[in-house]
Symmetry: C2
Subunit: 185 residues, 2 copies
Amino acid sequence: MKGGLEGGEASKVPLAAPAVNRGISILDFIFRVVAALATLGSAIAMGTTSETLPFFTQFMRFRAQYDDLPTFTFFVVANSIVAGYLVLSLALSVFNIIRSAAKGTRIFLVILDAVALAFLTAAASAAAAIVYLAHKGNTSANWFAICQQFDSFCERTSGSLIGSFVAVVLFILLILMSSMAISRC
Amino acid sequence: MKGGLEGGEASKVPLAAPAVNRGISILDFIFRVVAALATLGSAIAMGTTSETLPFFTQFMRFRAQYDDLPTFTFFVVANSIVAGYLVLSLALSVFNIIRSAAKGTRIFLVILDAVALAFLTAAASAAAAIVYLAHKGNTSANWFAICQQFDSFCERTSGSLIGSFVAVVLFILLILMSSMAISRC
């Protein structure tokens, strides 16, 4: 029975399971490629953000760069790390396509995906909190909205969040698909 | 064979699997209780934060409350929702202890756990970004560190993050344990 299971034959849903698992694995591969591109795009979009104003006021420096705010630096680093992880995980994803009954590698990926999900969400939402502050400011804390001055800086940083949040949704779907595939092994 | 599997008898690791799964389910139950208490504690600690200063300056209002900052309001709401979800999920967790071969409920919980993980991490790290700003300020954006004035407010909000991050770690462990249990069903 053990040998049969490893060959992907003696599953509980007799014939369909390996085919279904292969389909899930192929979708898994595509999602990982899309998520890797999304996080890489986010990292690049944020990492190249810089705006120099043509004038100089009492309250504002005339240059805004992403690394003026540590949260944005963390955002770039986290997105780069997650993109790197996603590219490396493609190898295991291919292995899962070939061996549709592989269980250990799927569990391994679920755990790493959950960690990457938490890490990426942390970076994306911390950056979103700062972007919100840059747009709206906060009167109670006397924090000014800097977006009136740094218009293109704000647009660029806001836009770069999209890729991260797309990747977060993809990670949730990846965990869902992996656990479905594990249950069919 | 199907009937045997549902009864938790004919697993791949013949005798140990149901017992191991029961152990995992009991640990799952304990982790959920701890995570529910941690998130509830965070929500209460943040939601009752308020500091009135004995003096009044030109730049600062003399009162700081958690809902002066929308991010902290989101933190309270998210922690309350996740605590509520965790209490509700205890029912399914108990079901998993009784029926150690139940597969559907485990997959269902993995998906909800992944969503709750992302939601809670978003709230916790957005609040952490604001707390960091309150402590350090940012000279580039002309945002002042408000913690020099609102000392106890800052300590309270910083402390309330701990419960959330403990729950985030527990969620990652819950997803790991669930996928291991699913593979043994």
